[in-house]
């Protein structure tokens, strides 16, 4: 549904994207993960035709955004960076105005989008009195008119409180489940991406360092934290020490056997704690390992 090929972009000599390619399948929720400045928003900007790439191309449903922007964007809704509204107008007026740039959208469709995001009771209030959460919901509502095949959500939970994050997450999942929407979302919040996304792409300093499922990111290795009196003994046994007090064993290896060898070598093993790899650990490993 969404495909980007070898995107490159520099801003005033600073490399923002360096040969980034990935594909989002129809109907999946795909996460674009990376720290601030990793190139997530630049990728979104290129996908929406708001940023011109130095090289490469972006496609939506097989249509090139760079060559046929209007036709390509006809099938997507989007939130790009911090949503800006005409604060002196009502939420409803904002929706009408933004929707008109996509064509004639029936009133019923606008009302449906408002209902989906739960703003029915407040949609005729001026946007200037909206909370941050309500503004984000309005941003999602405008992305849903006219009902798209895919939505591009750039940091959709940015600045929301925990309840707001939960509601937004539920909404995105509901839209994906009930309407089959393809979702591409960017975030620097690992937990959010882990809970929402089927697959992820991880960007670091403009480079793609991983694309795939979380399980693929975790790999097959198993990690344990050891409370050991003498780590030189572990070195001597050629154990793979991946962090202070943490070893990684190949899949299938038995930790009991490792402990026995350590004890035989004269080490005192005071405790063994299996570590389930957290997303944070995996992410940090990946980002720090990248050149």
């Amino acid at each position: 549904m969404i495909r980007i090929e070898n995107l490159r972009k520099t801003f005033r000599g600073r490399l923002a994207l360096d040969g980034v390619s990935f594909e989002v399948q129809r109907g999946e929720i795909f996460g674009l993960l990376g720290h601030n400045g990793a190139g997530k928003s630049t990728t979104f900007g290129i996908l929406l035709g708001q940023v011109y790439p130095d090289g490469g191309e972006a496609f939506i449903d097989g249509i090139s955004v760079q060559r046929e922007r209007a036709r390509a964007l006809a099938k997507v809704g989007a939130i790009f960076e911090t949503p800006g509204f005409f604060d002196y107008m009502s939420g409803w007026s904002n929706l009408e105005i933004l929707a008109a740039y996509s064509g004639h959208v029936p009133r019923a469709e606008l009302e449906e989008a408002v209902r989906i995001v739960g703003l029915t009771g407040r949609i005729h209030d001026p946007v200037r009195v909206y909370s941050h959460g309500m503004r984000q919901r309005l941003a999602l509502a405008q992305a849903l008119v006219p009902m798209p095949q895919a939505v591009l959500l750039d940091e959709p939970t940015e600045g929301l409180d925990p309840e707001g994050i939960h509601e937004m997450r539920e909404l995105i999942q509901q839209l994906n489940r009930e309407r089959g929407l393809t979702v591409l979302l960017s975030s620097h919040l690992l937990a959010e991406v882990q809970q929402l996304c089927d697959r992820v792409a991880i960007l670091n300093q403009g480079k793609l360092v991983f694309t795939g499922r979380w399980s693929e990111l975790a790999g097959d290795g198993q990690r344990f934290r050891l409370d050991l009196d003498d780590w030189a003994k572990a070195d001597a046994l050629a154990l793979r020490i991946v962090a202070p007090q943490v070893i990684e064993l190949p899949a299938g290896d038995d930790i009991g056997e490792v402990v026995r060898r350590l004890v035989t070598a004269g080490a005192t093993v005071r405790a063994v704690e299996p570590l389930r790899p957290t997303l944070e650990n995996l992410y940090l490993d990946l980002v720090h390992r990248a050149p």
């Binding site: 900007g45 035709g49 940023v51 209007a70 036709r71 960076e81 949503p83 509204f85 107008m89 008109a100």
Partner: protein
């Protein structure tokens, strides 16, 4: 076509939903009343009386609503007209970029050129609405205060000294409004062009006014008399020729052709600059 009109209507809705737009109209009305009050001062009336009677015309006949409306129109447009047109045109793109609303708009399948042309049309319509408002409200308040009568069109800086009976005077006055609006469209075009570049809305407005004022000042310096035709304000003043007898039609056509060419050039430059920009904070 109807979709284009819908988008244009929404663009106007955005502009006229702002309190500032209406406050502007209110400010013009206030300035008109102040100028009218100043023109009623005995000292001012004495000098007008002296001037008219020395030329052999009756003060009571020509110191009328339409005469005062003309003075109010010139002074109001000079004091505030350029400022408000520059303000709206300078804001029309740059403010939306600053507020992030343009990013939302550009997530939509609308071409940048189409969006800009809608915005420019909005600027032009606002300019016409503003000038018609100033002209008609000036005529209304002046006529209410001074009544009807002959029209003494006097503007020494442009060498204008003309007298008309009430009917033809009103016809010339009303005909001058669209011409003045067309002239002021060039100010809007400068503001619009600058607004398309990567600059703050206030900077676009200030730069527009700076150009407008500098152009007027340089044009009035005798040293530049030979190249007067190169100054934009020379052509912007073409509207005042409608009060001359006979009306220099050919000169006016030339002036407005020049202004329209300048407007078109400015819009094209603005569109090209906007088209080349990346939109990302």
């Amino acid at each position: 076509m109807p979709l284009l009109l819908t988008q244009f209507r929404h663009e106007l809705r955005k502009l006229f939903a702002r309190k500032r737009t209406w406050l502007g109209f209110g400010a013009f009305l206030a300035v008109e009343v102040v100028i009218l009050a100043l023109l009623q001062l005995p000292k001012v009336q004495r000098s007008w009386k002296f001037f008219l009677e020395r030329a052999g015309y009756g003060f009571d006949q020509y110191f009328s609503g339409i005469t005062l409306a003309f003075q109010i129109l010139i002074w109001t447009v000079f004091l505030l007209g350029g400022l408000f047109v520059a303000l709206v045109a300078g804001d029309i793109v740059a403010k939306e970029v600053e507020d992030g609303t343009l990013r939302m708009t550009l997530c939509r399948p609308i071409s940048r050129v189409r969006l800009l042309l809608i915005k420019y049309a909005t600027c032009v319509l606002y300019t016409f609405a503003l000038i018609f408002f100033i002209g008609l409200s000036a005529l209304a308040v002046a006529t209410l205060r001074q009544g009807t009568g002959g029209f003494f069109a006097f503007q020494p800086l442009q060498g204008l000294f003309a007298l008309f009976d009430s009917g033809p005077g009103h016809a010339r006055y009303l005909a001058s409004l669209p011409l003045l609006a067309l002239s002021m469209t060039s100010v809007a075009s400068i503001g619009f062009m600058l607004s398309c570049w990567n600059m703050k809305p206030a900077a676009a407005t200030i730069a527009t006014l700076t150009y407008f004022i500098a152009d007027s000042i340089f044009r009035s310096i005798p040293y530049f008399e030979d190249i007067k035709q190169w100054f934009l304000t020379t052509h912007i003043e073409a509207w005042i020729h409608i009060y001359r007898t006979p009306i220099p039609v050919e000169q006016m056509i030339g002036d407005y052709a020049y202004l329209l060419a300048v407007d078109a050039t400015l819009v094209i430059i603005g569109v090209l600059a906007f088209q080349a920009r990346d939109f990302k904070s």
